[in-house]
Symmetry: C2
């Protein structure tokens, strides 16, 4: 069933209200819960949404780095976006997400984000990477990677091959992804999708091990009209890692809409053992 | 001639002194001048240095994002590092570089940086990417990419092939790089080297066009002892882009020391036409 935008759980999850002191208030959404806190993608989306709604914003998102400083608890989150520089073609933003620490009773940072918005211009443009070959999405089956994790229920994820059975565990993992129920793509939902890709360490180790994203970087490669034209179509993600070293590994992904590369994203991720 | 560390222009360029108000003061270094401001890599190195010298820093650099908010002018720069969260294995830092705007007379942000430091642990580790094949560094000639740009004189850069003549302008560009004169690698100098790689748009367009880095992201993949063991050896960089779109393109690079991947880095870059 196609939900209307107003009732979609994604819109509920990134809803912001203005506090008396000018900060924005969100609520960590149970609909996007991960193991011990909200799915990192929904926190990134909420941070981006807080910049998108600023009346003095110019241009569209170009670059975003989200540092996950601490687990986010159920309950209210306060967000303080700051515009620190406006140039002719770019704006530089920084924001903190804050929660009251139950031990100290003081408000502390749980997420930091730097964002750049920019004005695109109709100049020479060209692709450099070509989209990977993949079967049509309709020929693949939607599977929840694991049972009992709420945010998996909010996405239709279709792996091209089972990554746990990959002949080469270092090869890129291909999967289609879309909001479930379908929802027209926007910059916040694209940011969230950048955090849905398969952690390659599970393929490398052939098992699920405890992990936590420390930092996620996203570059957006399309303008608002191109984004709107995608609608609720599936995106194809291709993800791989470079190295697993002493408790931290990296990951990168390209996000394709048909032949068009619409985002590139990277993470550094903590792993337990 | 091998300089002593104390007299190396890199050390002079990242020197910080403490102001009365607790901010750190640097000077935009003529020895690393680019076209209209200092080389972005030296600004990134100075930002990282400002965190490295904090007495309450725990762990080593894991992730760093530098957003270049405005051209940096000759003269003093003030740097305000803030430690916003300390966890068991990570610390989350944010800093601003500020300069007094000659038009308004007010101090304004010229650079924003988020950094994560982390404690590595001797757990399971493994490579995923393999180093690209390249001729030995001694078989290649050091060339300055262009005359008259001061920071090029501070690096020994040896391209494996002339990128302006590449058969495939989208193929990765390989080059060795090292400080010139040689200097033992440390985290700030590695950060600077991440900004030395060939802008692929010059290969794609077969000409030099005006560009400016908007944001640079760096993940570090080695501990301090591994870094110290590299000394002043050349590093091998492999860089490519994904897409050039309406005034902005991305770039990524892997940085190798022999068979070891020591850093991965990405940029989003403004281009003029």
């Amino acid at each position: 069933m196609m939900s209307t935008s107003a009732s979609h759980p994604f819109d509920d999850a990134i809803t912001l209200t203005l506090d008396d002191d000018g900060a924005w208030r969100a609520h960590a959404a149970k609909a996007y819960w991960n193991m011990v806190g909200p799915f990192g993608g929904i926190s990134a989306a909420t941070a981006l949404h807080a910049v998108m709604i600023q009346p003095n914003r110019q241009g569209e998102p170009l670059a975003m780095t989200v540092n996950y400083a601490a687990p986010i608890a159920a309950g209210p989150i306060r967000i303080k976006p700051q515009l620190l520089r406006t140039n002719r073609t770019t704006q530089h933003w920084w924001l903190q997400m804050l929660q009251t620490d139950s031990n100290t009773g003081r408000e502390a940072s749980v997420l930091l984000a730097q964002l750049v918005t920019g004005v695109r211009r109709p100049v020479w443009s060209a692709p450099a990477l070509q989209a990977p070959g993949a079967p049509a999405v309709d020929t693949l089956v939607s599977r929840k990677p694991r049972q009992g994790i709420e945010w998996f229920e909010r996405y239709d994820i279709r792996f091209v091959d089972n990554p746990f059975k990959a002949a080469d565990p270092d090869a890129p993992v291909l999967a289609y992804v879309r909001d479930d129920p379908p929802r027209a793509l926007d910059f916040p939902s694209l940011a969230a999708i950048c955090d849905t890709f398969f952690p390659s360490i599970f393929a490398k180790r052939r098992e699920v091990v405890p992990i936590a994203t420390v930092s996620m970087n996203i570059y957006f490669h399309l303008n608002a009209a191109e984004l709107a034209a995608i609608g609720a179509a599936h995106l194809l993600g291709s993800t791989r890692s470079s190295v697993y070293h002493e408790g931290f590994f990296d990951a990168e992904a390209q996000v394709w809409s048909g032949p068009r590369l619409i985002a590139t994203t990277q993470q550094v991720v903590w792993y337990k053992q």
